[in-house]
Subunit: 226 residues, 2 copies
Amino acid sequence: MPTQMPIRSFAAVPATASYSPASTRGPFEAMNLMASQMTFGPNEEIFGESEPAEYVYKVISGAVRTYKILSDGRRQIGAFYLPGDIFGLEVGKTHQLSAEAIGKAAVRVLRRSAVVSLAERDCGAARELWTFTARELRRVQQHMLLLAKSAQQRVASFLLEMSERLAAADAVELPMSRQDIADYLGLTIETVSRTMSQFVSEAAIGLPKSRRIVLRNRVALRQLNA
Amino acid sequence: MPTQMPIRSFAAVPATASYSPASTRGPFEAMNLMASQMTFGPNEEIFGESEPAEYVYKVISGAVRTYKILSDGRRQIGAFYLPGDIFGLEVGKTHQLSAEAIGKAAVRVLRRSAVVSLAERDCGAARELWTFTARELRRVQQHMLLLAKSAQQRVASFLLEMSERLAAADAVELPMSRQDIADYLGLTIETVSRTMSQFVSEAAIGLPKSRRIVLRNRVALRQLNA
DNA sequence: CGGCGGCTTGATCGGTCTCAAGTACGGTGG
DNA sequence: CCACCGTACTTGAGACCGATCAAGCCGCCG
């Protein structure tokens, strides 16, 4: 079994989440103003696959993973969401993947119905929803292409992606475990570990602690995408 | 080199494609009424990756594939579009993948600008665009999950998908070559061929001609998705 | 009837998985 | 402060699946 069990796993239900229709800007703006905040512990479920998609979430701190359990028991992680990222927005009534906090995480929550009903009145807001979904589409397309590559290429792409998303001067503090990375890349934990060790020996990266990555040679990593 | 070269490859530019803003229904309805029609020969390019996305397309007859060439020369097919399917719609200015006719294909064409400007006035139309993109998103997510499976599972899923999309009574006439299938599934042509032969020997399918598939045991194919 | 492209089948190779130890690290209790 | 423990991670050896390389086969069109 590749996954840890959640510590607690109740469906997320925020205390309050009202939305003013007179909002000046797009559908997600309100998240910074109103929208109730919630916190989740490590591995705690935020929502489950095929649950009604009642809320839209924005990561405030920590990190979130979405995933599906494949029929053979393996877990495929669909995405990692980092501070500032929005997730859980669905067009249909139910979620397509489950979501869990990776470590301790804080998220802001908005009622989906508020977002959708705003879009029905405000075409600008509607366009923003469309744009958001299109961005997700592109992300998933990229992820799909990733899964067609070799292990080296996948790990290199992952490191570059993470460095772009949360880099502080070439050093990246990964919020997720090797198992999470493996399940995101469609590899085993051993292959991820071995590949990183290889990058260290090639001086492409430094690995002072297992979750701290120093990108020493971005060019080499990028060329692996060959 | 896994791919054939296109016979002709000019960018698609329809002769005329005006759009009435007073259209009664959603943004794609007009495709059936007005919208110019074009035909493409086998392997002819419809649009290229990173070309400006000026048009939206609807397949009338034949089949279309979208794809990317990976940096190592392999081709990853993103989707097959069959009669009735819409493709080529982008939120941004440029296409994310290239598109080619597989065999001889006819498509109807609509100016993207017409679709988008309608959505700016009509929130219902905007919602339809959003729904369309969300459906694409789900399709790509499914495709991503496919690539995480074994060869048997991928081929079985592909056959089931095709049978649902163009089945006439358990017999499917595939419009695409083994190479197309392989590039869609992230496998080699040999593995696709071998796997199909295995399914034949297990009596899960019949294969009277190489492109004609008879689904003899859907349950067995579905269970492979284990 | 000949040739060519698309498909199938066979033999071998290699990359990733699997199974199995070993190691580093953070937390807890003495 | 240190000893101990459990978890996460690394490393090694061997198996396995799908890729590669290489023939054949089939059907179609001249």
